[in-house]
Structure formats: structure tokens, C-alpha cells
Amino acid sequence: MNFFKIIEQLAEVDSDALGRFDSRRAVFQSLGTFAKRSALATTPVLLGSMFQKAYAGTSVDTPIDILNYALTLELLEADFYRQFVAAGTATGAGVAAIAQIKKHEDAHVALLTNVIKALGGTPKTGVKFKTSAFPAAYADQLVVAQVLEDTGVRAYKGRAAELTATADQNITGIGNVNLLTVALQIHSVEARHASHIRYMRGKNPWVTTGEDVSSNAAYTGAIPESNVTQAGFNLTTQLGTPYSAADVAASFDEPLTPAEVLDMSRAGGLVG
């Protein structure tokens, strides 16, 4: 892993990236201290926590920005399911399931649009699922649906914490809402969708290692879905009783950063 390469790439999207760390020396010092204390030094987790530290408390994005980011994904999903329904490929119970998921995504678009407007923002519009990326076969369409839903789950998770301890907002037509709660309420519906699509495919409803889609970029990232370290504990070895990496990884869904989600290898490559 080339640490400075990451910083450089970060600097491309965030010119102040280096300024967020005290200095290069401080970065190295903290790396040294961590390295002495644990063998985690070479894992992405350490880097993740270091970046989290460097970026903690920065409020470059307003709640409107965060909601517009969520809306972008919902628009992409809604347009995907529009194409899915139009393709008419679903069979049996799949017809109702795809229709219901489409209904939810459409409603998420409407809800986020309303909230952004009420907060004085300009809601994102016109995000379309690239038609050339829409597969012909039902089975392949379900794979894309699964990847999109799992990505949605990871994307909401990547930003929800930025809404920590925000005051309730009075939204015209809805009433008093807490933006973190609303984000989590949508997030868990996405997880239910992901679970069902996986079930339809005869796969585990949760993200497991060694799946047919595991190599898809949607499951990789700075904190990949295979991560076994939470809150500083390696859960396979540090909880008194050993737990299998498969169980530990499946017990937690991991976040994706906006840059990761919008990368061409993930959802960014499906917009067109």
C-alpha cells in the first residue's frame, strides 16, 4: 500500500487534504505509535481511522448536500427499476417484488426531493441508469439490482453519522422530522430490498465472503465488506471467544465514501 499515493489522490478531490493532518511528520508519528501498539498498521482500517480523525468535525457538506447525495442514488435506483419493470422479464412472485421495490424507490425520491426543497435546497434531478449497462437476462438484472441495493445500503451508512445529533426539522407537509432518523428509515428499507433480491437469487440475504459478486467493486473499498475489526476490536480474536471471519464480516455492513460510490467502478459507472 502506498500511503502517499492515497493522500495524493485525496488531494485531487480535496485540496486541503494534507492540511487536515497536522503535518506529514505527525502522520508518520501517529502511524509509528499505532504500529507499536498493534499489528493493524498495514490494514486499511488504520488508515480509515486516521482519515476519520483528519476529517472529523469538518463540515464541508450541509445536510442538503448529504440529502442530495442520497437523492442521486435514489434517482439512479428508481430509473433502474423503471427499466426493469418495462423490460417485463420478471416472472412469478418476482413481478410483485420488483414492482414493490420500484414503488419504494420512487417514494424515496419524492420524500428526499420534498425535504431538500423545504430546507431551501435545489433537489437533484435527471439522474438516469445507463441503458447500455442494463442487462438483457432476468438473472443478470437481479445481479445489478443486488449490487445497487447493497451499494445503497453502504452509501447511506457512509454519511448517516454526519447527521449525528442534528436538531429536528419542521418540514412542510411532513411535520417534525429528524434527518438522521429519516436517512436510517430509508437505509433499512434498502437493506430489506437487498435481502429480498439476494433471497430471490438463492443467495445469503447478508453480504458474505466468497460470493459470486464478491469481486465487484461494490463490495470493496477502504473498509471492504470483509472487514472484521469494529471499534478497535478484531472480532475474530479479541472477544474472548473466537468467531469466524465469515460470521463477523456478515454481522456488519460496511460504509462506502461518496468518492467510492461515485467512482466509475461502482454506481458512478452506471449513470448515463
Binding site: 429528524n178 436510517l184 433499512s188 435481502s195 469494529q230 460470521d247 456488519f252
Partner: protein, 238 residues
């Protein structure tokens, strides 16, 4: 059961009293206070009252308690699976038990000595007599009740937390609970993964899932805790 994790207002008052009484300078005023006629009526002490602490710690204890409940439920199922479980379903319950166990233990380690049961000699027992654990339909109904409740509990509790890293961590758990909920619903009633009873189907908030406060969740789950009564009084509400 250790007293220290269950409310003993009487004991606490007594300790405070003794500490004050030990200071000789205060003795005179104590005697005078003893003569006062407006002695407060003592609140009856419920030895089975479980308090969870305050602020983020209290909320973590609340979610830790729910993870204990789910783990205990699935453990019971896998220890004595109903005879009419279908092929592959025992393995699913094994997985569900494993995930909840990992969640429970992760929260226990994060809480450390702040865990509500850190000083208990044995873990809390739960009462599942309201469920039918001898049939497939019964265990799926119980699993659905607990998983849907768990999702609503996490979804409603995270806004009350103050620590960003804790919100980040618990957000990783809630979506796995939602995956569980959708699965057990699909096993019980095919296609009900996001049914209208858990995903709001009308109005401005349609297509979002339910979020419940700790008070609502504990009220719904109280039968499982008997004879323990879980108090949410010390938990944040905003």
C-alpha cells in the same frame, strides 16, 4: 443477582444518610431534621427494576439488552429446533444466532465495566413463554417480531446518540438486522420482506421503515424481560 446493577433507591439513601450522619458537625441539624414532620413517603423499591444508565452509555446498554434477547431467542431455537423446519432452515437460524451473538459480544466489549450486567454472576434470563418455539410457524413469528422490533429500535435510538463513531458503528448493525427481518418475513410469508406493517405505506413518509423510541420498544418487549422490569427513565429522549 448483584444489587449494584439494579435500582436500590432505599439502599442508596441509606448509604448517603450514613455518610452524612458520620460527620459530627452535621449531627445537630440531622436531629432537627429528624424532628421535621414533612418526612417524604418512601418510594417502594422494586428489586427487579433494571436501569440502563444515561446518555450514550445508557443507549448502548439498551441495544446490548436487545441483542442479548435476540441471541437468547435464537439459541433456544437452535438448541431445540422445531421438527417441521424445512431443509436449510436450521442453518439459517444458526447464522442468525451467530450474527446476534457477535453483535451482543461487540457491544459488551465496547461497554466494558459500563455494561449493565458487568457485575452479574450470570447473564439475564429471558421469558419466551409468549412464543411457540415448538413449531416452524411459531419460531418464525417470534423471529419476525424480534427482528422488526430490533430494526425499529436501532432506527429510533441513533438520533439520541452524541458520539459520531458510535452512530457509525451501530449503522453497520441496523442494516444487517433489516436483512434478517426481511429474510424471516420471506420465510414466514413469501414476499413480505418490506410489508406495510413495517414500511409506512401512505402519506408523506411512505416507503420508510418504522422508528421506535426506547419507551415504545421496551413496552412491546416487556413480556420477554419478566420478572425484570426495564426502566428507560434514565435514557435520553431528545
Amino acid at each position: 443477582m448483584s444489587d449494584s446493577y439494579f435500582s436500590q433507591p432505599g439502599a442508596l439513601h441509606r448509604r448517603t444518610f450514613l455518610r452524612v450522619a458520620g460527620a459530627s458537625a452535621a449531627t445537630a441539624s440531622l436531629v432537627l431534621a429528624g424532628c421535621s414532620t414533612d418526612t417524604p413517603t418512601p418510594t417502594p423499591v422494586n428489586p427487579n427494576l433494571l436501569t440502563l444508565g444515561s446518555a450514550d452509555t445508557g443507549l448502548l446498554n439498551y441495544l446490548y439488552l436487545l441483542e442479548q434477547l435476540k441471541t437468547a431467542f435464537y439459541q433456544k431455537v437452535v438448541d431445540a429446533p422445531p421438527a417441521d423446519l424445512r431443509t436449510g432452515e436450521k442453518a439459517i437460524f444458526d447464522d442468525l444466532r451467530d450474527h446476534e451473538l457477535v453483535h451482543r459480544e461487540t457491544l459488551r466489549y465496547i461497554l466494558g465495566t459500563d455494561a449493565f450486567d458487568a457485575a452479574l454472576s450470570k447473564p439475564l434470563a429471558f421469558d419466551f413463554s409468549s412464543l411457540t418455539l415448538t413449531t416452524r410457524a411459531g419460531v418464525l413469528a417470534g423471529a419476525q417480531q424480534l427482528e422488526d422490533l430490533g430494526v425499529a429500535a436501532y432506527t429510533g435510538a441513533l438520533r439520541l446518540l452524541k458520539t459520531i463513531t458510535t452512530v457509525s458503528l451501530l449503522a453497520k448493525v441496523v442494516s444487517v438486522e433489516a436483512r434478517h427481518a426481511a429474510l424471516v418475513r420471506d420465510l414466514r410469508t413469501p414476499g413480505s420482506f418490506a410489508g406495510d406493517d413495517v414500511v409506512i405505506s401512505t402519506g408523506a413518509l411512505q416507503s420508510v421503515s418504522l422508528a421506535k423510541t426506547p419507551v415504545q420498544v421496551v413496552a412491546e418487549a416487556k413480556a420477554f424481560f419478566l420478572p425484570i422490569v426495564v426502566s428507560t427513565d434514565s435514557l435520553p429522549t431528545a
